[in-house]
Amino acid sequence: MAGALFSGQTRSGLLLVSPPFLYAIALLAVPLGAIVLFSFWTQDYLTLVTTPTLDNYREAYIEPLYGLLLRRSLMISAAVTAATVVLAFPIAYFVSFHVRPERKSLWLFLITIPFWTSYLIRVFLWKVILGFNGVLNSGLSGLGLIDEPLTFILYNANAVVITLAHAFAPFAILPIFVALERIDRSLIEAGRDLGETKIMTFWRVTLPLAMPGVVAAVLIVFIPTIGDYVTPRLVGGPNGLMIANMIQTQFLKLNNAPMGAALAVIAMLSVSFIALLFVWANRRFLRVKQ
């Protein structure tokens, strides 16, 4: 049957791709379906009630805490994304335009190393750096720059933003770097030859051409940050907790998997919606520039 439908090459391709594909179906697509299904069920103490209902979504809408956590999470993720991408762009630009070709991979290697090393301990160390008697405060007061320790940098949303911006840095740098590397350098020379200033050339040639990389960077930072519960727990304090902490609590402490599933679905939908909105807005931006 399959032989009649597909040529030998196509069949070999499908056969070869089927193990990773079936694995992704079984351990990704099916579980994601299960989460959606679960979010329409309810938990009655120890028994799972499998009558479909919108109760969890209703509760998520009515209970102010959930709304608060979700809004805060989206704000924090957006702030992390903005900080990470804005800080990352000059680095990607520097490595792509100012570093000699044979040394580029060394720079990228240096940038990626901290990302691969002990995530938990890295987050914990930010607590040490930002704390009341921390590295930053004792350093600044040692230099005589401050009289009293800064307190606005730990156990709140600021600390979460700083720590996550650190954790996701390479995720933002690499896509922007790849996009910048693809830019045909003669286009930039042409812009300059035709009388544009350096800044206008950057604004009208380099930046639009680098935009696919920026968009990829934004998505690859924004979407995963919403799911982090370690950073808010360690450095966020009570006012820095995020929706992922609530999802974790629902599953592991309150034993209310359906409510946790509903919150997970809501978080995913909100993030996807904002991501799509961003991609659309960016298309408009590029069209206006053309």
């Binding site: 090459q9 196509t10 391709g13 499908l14 070869l16 791709v17 089927s18 193990p19 990773p20 594909f21 694995y23 992704a24 351990l27 990704l28 579980p31 299960a34 989460i35 000059p90 520097f94 580029k104 991979s105 720079w107 290697f109 240096l110 940038i111 190393i113 901290p114 691969w116 090393t117 002990s118 995530y119 938990l120 301990i121 890295r122 914990f124 160390l125 930010w126 040490v128 008697n133 004792s138 390479p170 690499l174 896509p175 770097f177 998505l219 690859i220 979407i223 940050t225 919403i226 799911g227 982090d228 370690v230 999802i247 974790q248 599953f251 998997a257 599933a261 997970a264 978080a267 995913m268």
Partner: protein
């Protein structure tokens, strides 16, 4: 010039936590703060005397080795299929396999938890962690192996087949040696990711904790923190060594394909 200064400042920001680790690991005080109190090895000795930690490390290495093998095997299939063949829905199929790269890890964790515990009613074990880690490591393996497979000169394979080799022996004698550096690099990267992964492991670990789950438990006890710093120091040194080996093989793979190096792992 100012851009170079900015770049150096940024690297300091990136390395700040890692540079602090050894300071506190060798510091003779139970408090993780400045000023430092003098030099000691006692936190490393404490690690040596903690059997629960050794079990967690053994468990994590076991998981990481299995994860590295399975995700690299799946990565070879996908990267080879993507490089050599055209088939219907290629973009969607490859897209689905790569999704874990951007999916929040907590979603992977809770969705597998629901399926394993609530729907299938299995016990959580080492294998549930391996299953999830293979899922999130496969996209990284594919990203690394794509380079190796796409850059391979297919005429070498055709030549081998013309000279009478079977497709399997061609793969073993020609293709495999050419992509071997990519495979080693993929094994090392998957191993590193799995060894360090906490968010998913916390949901799916059974009675035997993995090393990050064990560390998470320690973070609540202030008197245990210097030992955590010591452990962190060892882990940082080991993962930098692993990454340097991985990077060496990745570059060798590119050189073997006759290409200029264009950048990092991703």
């Amino acid at each position: 010039m100012s851009l170079r200064l900015y770049a150096i400042g940024y690297l300091i920001f990136l390395y700040l936590p890692i540079l602090l680790l050894p300071l506190f690991a060798f510091n003779d005080s139970t408090i993780i703060a400045f000023p430092l109190d003098g030099f000691t090895f006692r936190w490393f000795v404490e690690l040596w005397d903690t059997p629960a930690l050794h079990d967690a490390v053994r468990n994590s290495i076991y998981i990481a080795v299995l994860t590295a093998i399975f995700s690299t095997l799946l990565g070879i299939c996908a990267a080879r299929a993507a490089a050599k063949y055209e088939f219907p829905l290629k973009r969607s199929i490859m897209g689905l396999i790569m999704v874990p790269l951007v999916l929040p890890e907590i979603i992977v964790g809770v969705s597998l938890l629901v399926v394993v515990v609530q729907l299938l009613q299995w016990e959580l074990s080492t294998w549930t962690v391996v299953g999830a880690h293979v899922l999130i490591c496969t996209p990284f393996s594919i990203a690394i192996l794509n380079g190796a497979f796409q850059n391979m000169d297919t005429s070498l394979e055709e030549a081998a087949q013309d000279l009478g080799e079977t497709p399997f022996s061609t793969f073993r004698l020609v293709t495999l040696p050419l992509v071997m550096p990519g495979i080693i690099s993929s094994l090392l990267i998957s191993f590193t990711i799995s060894l360090d992964e906490f968010i998913i492991a916390f949901f799916l670990t059974g009675a035997e904790p993995t090393m990050p789950v064990y560390i998470w438990g320690l973070l609540r006890f202030p008197q245990k923190l210097p030992a955590v710093m010591a452990l962190g120091t060892i882990l940082v040194v080991l993962s930098i060594l692993l990454l340097m080996v991985a990077e060496y093989y990745r570059r060798r793979g590119l050189a073997r394909a006759g290409l200029k190096d264009k950048g990092g792992f991703l």
